[in-house]
């Protein structure tokens, strides 16, 4: 089955794998994005993810449906976690199953690339020194809240 979810809850990898399971497939590709302990060399304690929920939910569905049209894959699961996430937590999952590995890898890569480009979600870095900063704020105060 295909499944798309924006959630504050931890990503359940086993559940995602069960949803893409299919005896007609010989390949499953899973991309799991996790919160890193630094960004551009600066120590970080974690991330806050802001979201526009209805648009984010419809965008990940559109991305998944496009992947199924463009690649020879059987099932796709896209989950993005939002809210406060500590270092090490999984923030995003793209999982696909396909008859063969080439299409599985290609679809998973296209999926995560598009999630990062097209879904209205924004992250704020919580620096180890106590300050915070939104990613991709074009200019201006880099030390908000």
């Amino acid at each position: 089955m295909d499944y798309y979810l924006i959630t504050e809850d931890p990503i359940n990898l086993a559940e995602a794998l069960s949803m893409i399971d299919d005896p007609s497939t010989g390949a499953q590709a899973i991309f799991l994005g996790t919160v890193r302990n630094e960004f551009e060399g600066r120590a970080s304690l974690g991330l806050y993810y802001d979201v526009y929920p209805p648009m984010a939910q419809s965008q990940i569905r559109k991305i998944g449906e496009a992947l199924k049209e463009e690649f020879d894959i059987r099932h796709v699961v896209i989950i993005h976690r939002i809210g406060e996430l500590p270092v090490g937590a999984a923030s995003v999952l793209v999982a696909v199953s396909a008859p063969h590995r080439e299409q599985a890898f290609a679809a998973a890569k296209a999926g995560i690339d598009r999630v990062k480009q097209q879904v209205p979600i924004w992250k704020k870095e919580h620096w180890a020194d106590g300050s915070s900063q939104w990613h991709d704020e074009p200019e201006g105060t880099k030390e908000s809240k």
Partner: protein, 81 residues
């Protein structure tokens, strides 16, 4: 005839506007572009091209003519993942 629209802000735009949601009374019909220039700039000082806009959860062009009751979202460059 005056019309009321609701505007949603996210990420650093919400910080700068000090709110995530605000209602605006428009004395005359405006496009998204005109609304941005007249009501949001310079609080949101980045050029129009830096933003994406949606109305009632569908992406729109900045030339879209705002209608009474519309929910406009001002969407900064995304950074998920």
């Amino acid at each position: 005839m005056p019309s009321e629209i609701t505007v949603l802000f996210f990420s650093f735009a919400a910080d700068r506007m000090n709110t995530r949601e605000k209602t605006y009374e428009l004395p005359q019909p405006l496009s998204v572009k005109e609304f941005f220039q007249q009501y949001l700039y310079p609080s949101l000082k980045e050029p129009l091209e830096s933003w994406l806009f949606s109305v009632n959860e569908e992406w729109v062009d900045p030339h879209y003519a705002l209608q009474p009751g519309d929910e406009l979202a001002v969407v900064p460059p995304v950074s998920g993942g």
